[in-house]
């Protein structure tokens, strides 16, 4: 197999890798905020249940969670949709896992906000919702951006875990070529792909940070 053939074959999987990446971000970022709010809820039951879920999601390997999401419902209820729709199972597992991490980042950001910001908004008559959306959240976003960047870069690399469900994303194809051709070249190609993707992520995130650097 020529180098170009390898790259072409692996590029076919790149679309799937990107699908995992973007869909996971699309769902886990808002879900993470929801989870963070549930975690900080005054309702003791809600907050401790959420806290336990976060603990499990962060405390077990994503690989296990992938298997649990795809095959758990099948063994328990004979439900085969997640087995047949691999991408769906992967997006559910990835989104839950990343939402747990994002939730803790959001929580850290929200809890680091000085109470004075809430009080100033309160006295001016802002509702809870207005305070959160207009005063707190924009500042939280700026504060948490570096940590979010870290997670997003990790996510790029974690997409390769989809091989657990035999989903033919870029790295799984690379491994197959490597073993068929007894060549390490596919791993080099995979490394280059991941590095380029992360360069793009780093570039976009630094643009975001710059866009928010107009205030301190």
């Amino acid at each position: 197999m020529t180098l170009t053939a390898m790259i072409a074959k692996m590029s076919e999987g790149l679309g799937r890798t990107c699908a995992i990446f973007f869909l996971t971000l699309l769902f886990s970022l808002p879900l993470g905020l929801l989870v963070a709010l549930m975690r900080m809820s005054k309702n003791k039951v809600l907050s401790s249940v959420t806290s336990a879920c976060i603990s499990v999601l962060r405390g077990t390997p994503l690989m296990l969670q992938l298997i649990a999401v795809a095959y758990g419902p099948f063994y328990l209820f004979g439900y085969t949709l997640l087995v047949k729709e691999k991408l769906l199972a992967i997006i559910i597992a990835f989104s839950l896992n990343y939402a747990a991490y994002f939730a803790e980042i959001y929580r850290g950001g929200i809890e680091s906000m000085p109470v004075g910001q809430y009080e100033a908004a309160h006295v001016l008559g802002y509702s809870k919702h207005q305070t959160f959306m207009r005063i707190i959240m924009p500042q939280v976003v700026k504060r948490i951006l570096p940590s979010v960047t870290n997670e997003v870069i990790t996510l790029v690399k974690d997409t390769s875990l989809a091989f657990t469900l035999a989903y033919m994303e870029m790295f799984s194809i690379g491994k197959q070529i490597a073993n068929s051709q007894s060549s390490f070249l596919p791993f080099v190609i995979a490394g280059v792909f991941y590095y380029v993707m992360n360069m793009i992520v780093a570039f976009v995130m630094s643009r975001c940070e710059k866009a928010l650097s107009y205030y301190r």
Binding site: P114, V123, L124, Y126, I135
Partner: protein
């Protein structure tokens, strides 16, 4: 007509009484200063009055409208909607300014009047620019809080409170977070407001300022009003031992 009326306000923190039976009335155009050592409860009183802290017992009324009423010694708060309306009666200037750092000076001042009070944009901007001019910050409307000195930030926060057209203003140690050379500009702004007969309650450590600007001075210690009255009398000739002790530290 009195604007603010606090009756028999009580407040505990973890079983420790920080306010016991405080009553206070503020008339229109009156300037009241509250002095006292730290931990005396003066800031807590201010926070109860501005609804940032809930009181355990007592009553609170603005312009005759009840925010808190006393029911068998327990404080009962008015409905959410009523409190929202009552909150428009007063403004509060914080010790640490608490400007919104992600908003420009102009947006800090104009957002609440437009968003909360649904006032006309052109009118709000005109009001805001007039206030900035009065505060000597006409050329800084596009600046962000971090680009301003502490004194300038505090002036913006006073403008922010005034833009809501409140019936009265509270000041919570407005100069305590400032470098000594910057306190003068804030005190001057408050003096100007007093000259315009703005109703104000000021918690402060500036004794000379309190004496000069206010109509009435309260000395608080240990959660009670120890002594109150005419500023000259309280600050120059206090009658209570605790007041004398406290004031001696400032001379």
């Amino acid at each position: 007509m009195n604007i603010l009326k606090i009756a028999h306000c009580r407040k505990q923190f973890d079983g420790k009484e920080v306010l016991s039976d405080i009553s206070l009335t503020v008339d229109e155009g009156q300037v009241v200063s509250i002095i006292g050592p730290s931990g005396s409860g003066k800031s807590t009183l201010l926070r109860c009055a501005t609804l940032l802290e809930t009181m355990d017992g007592g009553a609170l009324r603005y312009l005759g409208k009840s925010a808190v009423r006393d029911e068998n010694g327990r404080a009962v708060y008015a409905s959410h909607a009523e409190l929202k309306e009552i909150r428009t009666c007063f403004g509060l200037v914080f010790q640490n300014f608490n400007l919104f750092p992600h908003y420009s000076v102009l947006k800090n001042i104009t957002e609440a009047p437009m968003l909360i009070q649904k006032r006309n944009k052109a009118e709000v901007y005109e009001t805001a620019r007039d206030l900035l001019k009065k505060m000597g910050l006409a050329d800084r409307e596009d600046a962000y809080p971090y680009q301003l000195s502490g004194g300038q930030q505090q002036r913006v926060s006073i403008a922010r409170a005034l833009a809501m057209k409140p019936k009265m203003l509270f000041f919570d140690e407005p100069t305590s977070a400032l470098d000594p050379e910057l306190t003068g500009e804030i005190l001057k702004v408050i003096r100007d407001l007093a000259a315009e007969h703005m109703t104000m309650v000021i918690v402060t450590h500036e004794m000379a300022f309190a004496r000069d600007v206010s109509d009435h001075v309260l000395f608080m210690d240990g959660g009670v009003i120890v002594e109150q009255g005419n500023p000259e009398d309280i600050i120059n000739n206090p009658s209570q031992e605790r007041t004398i002790q406290f004031l001696s530290r400032f001379n």
